[in-house]
């Protein structure tokens, strides 16, 4: 019988008395332990031999799809190749073993790398005030919006400017971040071309607006044609332009947020600079701002003086984002990626990412609806509306069927303004053949939806497990192991 791996957690494996690793014995003079009321008996944990643990986690790993397994075209998530040499660099003992509170003279190597990374990101974005300490994109957003808040406070306008404008196509983190930063959020409907509608924006602007948050290119994979006028109007109203830099990978080396007049952006190194996503982190979320905002950056930042590097606290900082200095292991990988490609290579990544997305759009366009039929940047948003209308097949079913073709599904039902959205981002790391294979799978599925819609409703058939009852998992949540009832 084939094992139901999910039904047996580590806690249900092993046997009393087994252990996974030995611990050195203390054979010196033993000190008395603290009073018994401060101590516990033991921790309830699995007792497994090392071999059992390796096989169990090995089995789990084989139940995962990954970028190293194949095409992973999750739109907006940018799953590109993760260079292995970058992993090697992050694990060099000189970096891995450095203590965060070590005296500066003992950590000049890592400080120099971080200083140079700040400078490279400043160059790449055209926003020279850079802090690397946020732990992820959403954390960088929070830092960025708090920089805006502090700047307003210092201008004496914080009490008055409490409203933040966010397009309805934005990532959910944008409104959530604005709310965490203490602002109220007003959502702006997108224009007919999928971009910011100038008239809508102008009507919403006023002297109570703190910032406009905009993703560039936007989450439909489209360039904001009015971006310069947008920036102009927002600034004229005395508000800040906050850039969600999640899609920098579409324009890196070709356009800089700072040159367009943006005030603050955050970046996601796993999207633009090839750091592994780890199944949901760790990430990093560097924040880049105009020079005038440098005093408000989160602490610490790295400075250089007389050839020596040091961590410092910006004069009027919003504070620390985390206990120490940031996701150093992720930042080292981002640095290695930038140094491997240089400016010309980064420009090639955006060029090929955009070429691949447009090629995919051309190959698929006769088979799926295109709600915004314009040349795209790094990703293309199709809609499964035709399939739903004619064959009662949902985007959800199309995504699940793709799994049977050995591919990871795209992002679905986002952005929210597109019905039955299929948001596909091939990235520059895929070859022409793999784009053609991906398009071929989508086209074959479109044909299957006409011929045999049940095939889609029952998909996937080849995955380690079938479709799950997700609603029940939230209605009656079981979120931890418990001993079986005797």
């Amino acid at each position: 019988m084939i094992e139901d791996v999910g039904a047996r957690l580590s806690f249900d494996r092993g046997a009393p008395g087994r252990r996974g690793v030995g611990v050195p014995r203390w054979d010196g003079e033993p000190a008395a332990l603290p009073d018994a009321h401060l101590l516990r008996e033991s921790v309830r944990l699995p007792e497994m031999s090392q071999n059992e643990i390796v096989r169990y986690y090995g089995a789990l790993s084989r139940r995962n799809y990954s970028v190293d397994s194949g095409t992973y075209p999750l739109g907006s998530c940018t799953m590109k190749y993760n260079p292995k040499v970058d992993d090697l660099i992050a694990s060099l003992p000189g970096f891995a073993e450095a203590h965060p509170l070590a005296p500066a003279e003992d950590v000049q190597g890592v400080l120099r790398v971080l200083f140079e990374l700040q400078s490279h990101l400043g160059e790449i974005t055209g926003l020279p005030a850079v802090a690397l300490s946020p732990a992820a994109g959403a954390h960088g957003e929070l830092a960025g919006m708090l920089i805006v808040k502090r700047a307003l406070e210092r201008r004496g306008e914080l009490a008055q400017r409490r409203r933040v404008l966010v397009p309805d196509s934005a990532h959910g983190t944008n409104p959530a971040t604005a709310a965490m930063a203490g602002f109220t959020v007003q959502e702006l409907p997108s224009g007919p071309d999928g971009g910011v509608d100038l008239a809508t924006l102008e009507a919403a602007l006023g002297d109570d607006v703190a910032a406009f948050m905009v993703t560039l290119p936007n989450t439909l994979g489209l360039w904001e044609r009015n971006i310069q006028r947008v920036v102009e109007r927002v600034h004229a109203a005395g508000a800040f332009v906050y850039g969600d830099g999640a899609n920098l990978n579409a324009i890196v080396g070709r356009m800089r947020f700072g040159d367009l007049g943006f005030d603050v952006v955050h970046l996601n190194p796993h999207k633009t600079f090839g750091t592994p996503h780890g199944g949901g982190g760790p990430g990093a979320g560097p924040v880049c701002a105009r020079a005038e905002l440098a005093p408000y950056l989160p602490a610490p930042v790295v400075v250089q003086e007389d050839g020596r590097y040091a961590l410092v606290r910006p004069a009027d900082t919003i504070g620390r984002m985390q206990q120490f200095h940031g996701s150093i292991g992720v930042l080292l990988r981002a640095y290695a990626y930038i140094r491997t490609l240089g400016c010309e290579g980064l420009r090639e990544t955006s060029g090929n990412a955009v070429l691949n997305a447009n090629y995919l759009r051309a190959l698929m366009r006769d088979h799926y609806d295109l709600p915004y039929d314009r040349p795209v940047m790094h990703e293309v948003v199709f809609a499964g509306t035709r399939q739903r209308r004619r064959h009662n097949v949902r985007t959800y079913d199309i995504a699940k069927r793709l799994i049977d073709y050995g591919l990871h599904p795209p992002t679905v039902y986002f952005p929210l303004i597109v019905e039955e959205a299929l948001m596909i981002e091939p990235t520059e790391a895929e070859s022409r053949e793999s784009i053609e294979m991906l398009a071929g799978a989508f086209i074959a599925i479109a044909e299957e939806s006409e011929r045999d819609p049940e095939l889609l409703h029952d998909a996937p058939q080849t995955s380690p497990i079938g479709r799950m009852d997700e609603a029940e998992a939230s209605r009656h949540p079981v979120i931890r192991w418990r001993p079986r009832e005797a």
Binding site: V5, G6, A7, L9, R19, V21, P24, A31, L33, H37, L38, R40, S42, L45, M48, G58, N64, Y65, S66, V85, D87, G94, A96, E97, A98, H99, V107, E123, A135, A136, A138, H139, G172, P175, V185, N268, G279, G280, G281, P282, G319, Q323, F324, R339, G351, N352, V354, L355, I403, E428, S431, D458, I465, R467, M468, E470, S474, P477, I479, R480
Partner: protein, 450 residues
């Protein structure tokens, strides 16, 4: 055109693709971008081949001094991590996958996260856990915001001595949420204005607290009790959940891998059951198959799997009304933490915690016998202790540095009377006994010369 190793398309590929698009060049695809700003001068160094890159970064890594005996702790501890931990989490199926939005092909990440939640609940004595947050300090700040939401009070209290960077991070989040942050000397200073009291276990200066004192005082004031616990110490110490804690956070990085200059980290976040739907972050739940594949045994029961659960709390659904903006977390670090804790198992966690305790107490006992040195009495402690030397902490650090040793943390600028003129030394289970011998020898020489 130069070929880059991470970009497969060749000029010939591009020609075929461009022809299909009816576009003359790749640059033409960017024509919507404002011409006056297109293709700016960007001053970053030219591309490096892999061998040159490795050589450069090896040089940088070698500029860090990491082989000297060091007695710094203060939130980043050298821990024993078994070899299978880095081995298993470096499997690229774990390392190069995304957030598990498609459960059918993400069971590895999801089930590992369920294991993590289970382990955190067992260690902390809590009912529920999320899949992990950025680090201990930001998790603590999120816990404070949860307390603010459920109590509808606009101030939080942090019990000193607590890590100063935790205070800093909580203040940063509180600036966002327009919440007042008070630091208090006694748990009984918590009032009906406070949503919670935050207690660090062991405290910043190393002392083990009776969490029940703090939780009792908090509950008497109608506030929640949040405990920031060291997870290895929980191999030995009473689970905070058994001592009245409502929320427990902690730093998981050091059981997951090397200190890595402080990050990436892992913020533990666990709670009592009533706060489940107020929690920030991702939560994985158990589920059953609704559509077993035809290949599964005929007539077999639906199989068990794992999915992202309770997502209605999260930013991508609830947007500005979400419990947090949290999205990408620390999944891989959480898996590493889980594997270490499970490999140690119930015996190993206890033995590792006791070894840490014994090595630290042995070092303290030997230092206390040196003429001119004193170990400050502050009650039961775990791995960090305060030393007064016959010279100020700065001079002591310099004298140790001259002997190739990094001293503990100078805490003499703190408000607590015990910290006056003191250096906080940290000794853990993973520290070499030879390093402790070298420290004792060096202090003995320094004491003799002063």
């Amino acid at each position: 055109m130069q070929a880059f190793p991470y970009i497969p398309n060749t000029d010939a590929d591009r020609a075929i693709m461009l022809e299909r698009l009816g576009v003359a060049s790749v640059d033409r695809l960017f024509e919507e971008l404002p011409a006056e700003h297109r293709d700016p001068q960007i001053n970053i160094p030219a591309a490096l081949a892999e061998a040159d890159l490795v050589r450069l970064l090896q040089e940088r890594a070698a500029e860090n001094v990491v082989d000297r005996p060091t007695f710094l702790g203060a939130g980043a501890y050298r821990r024993f991590v078994p070899a299978i931990t880095p081995h298993l989490v470096s499997r690229s199926e774990f390392a190069t996958s995304y957030t598990p939005y498609q459960p059918e092909i993400s069971q590895g990440t999801l089930q590992a996260a369920f294991e993590y939640q289970s382990v955190v609940c067992e260690l902390t004595g809590m009912d529920v856990s999320n899949t992990g947050m950025y680090d201990a300090a930001s998790a603590t700040a999120e816990a404070c915001l949860l307390a603010v939401r459920v109590t509808r009070r606009r101030a939080v209290a942090l019990l000193e001595p607590i890590h100063p960077n935790t205070v800093d991070v909580v203040r940063m989040y509180a600036f966002g949420g327009d919440v007042r942050v008070d630091t208090v000397r006694h748990a009984t200073d918590v009032t009906a204005e406070h949503a919670c009291v935050v207690v660090q276990q062991p405290d910043f200066l190393g002392t083990i607290l009776d969490v029940e004192d703090a939780s009792g005082a908090a509950h008497a004031a109608g506030a929640l009790c949040i405990v920031v616990a060291d997870p290895l110490a929980l191999g030995l110490l009473r689970a905070p959940g058994d001592a009245g804690a409502d929320l427990v956070t902690g730093e998981g990085r050091d059981l997951a891998g090397p200190v890595a200059f402080g990050g990436p980290s892992l913020g533990l976040f666990a709670a009592r059951e009533p706060f489940l739907r107020q929690m920030p972050g991702r939560i994985v739940g158990r589920a059953q198959e609704s559509h077993p594949p035809a290949g599964a045994s005929p007539g077999a029961a639906p199989r068990t799997g794992y999915v992202l659960a309770l997502q209605a709390r999260e930013q991508f659904i609830r947007r500005e009304r979400a419990t947090s903006n949290f999205s990408t977390g620390q999944s891989l670090i959480a898996t590493a933490f889980t594997i270490t804790v499970q490999t140690l198992g119930p015996q190993g966690m206890r033995e590792s915690a006791e070894l840490c305790y014994q090595r630290a107490h042995d070092a303290a006992r030997r230092i206390a016998t040196l003429p001119g040195f004193a170990v400050v009495e502050r009650g039961a402690w775990f791995q960090e202790f305060l030393v007064r030397a016959p010279m100020p902490p700065a001079a002591l650090a310099m004298a140790l540095a001259d002997r190739g040793i990094i001293a503990g943390l100078d805490v003499s600028d703190r408000g607590e009377p015990e910290a006056r003129e003191a250096t906080m030394f940290c000794v853990t289970e993973a520290m070499s006994p030879a390093h402790v011998d070298a420290l004792v020898q060096a202090l003995s020489e320094i004491g003799a010369r002063s």
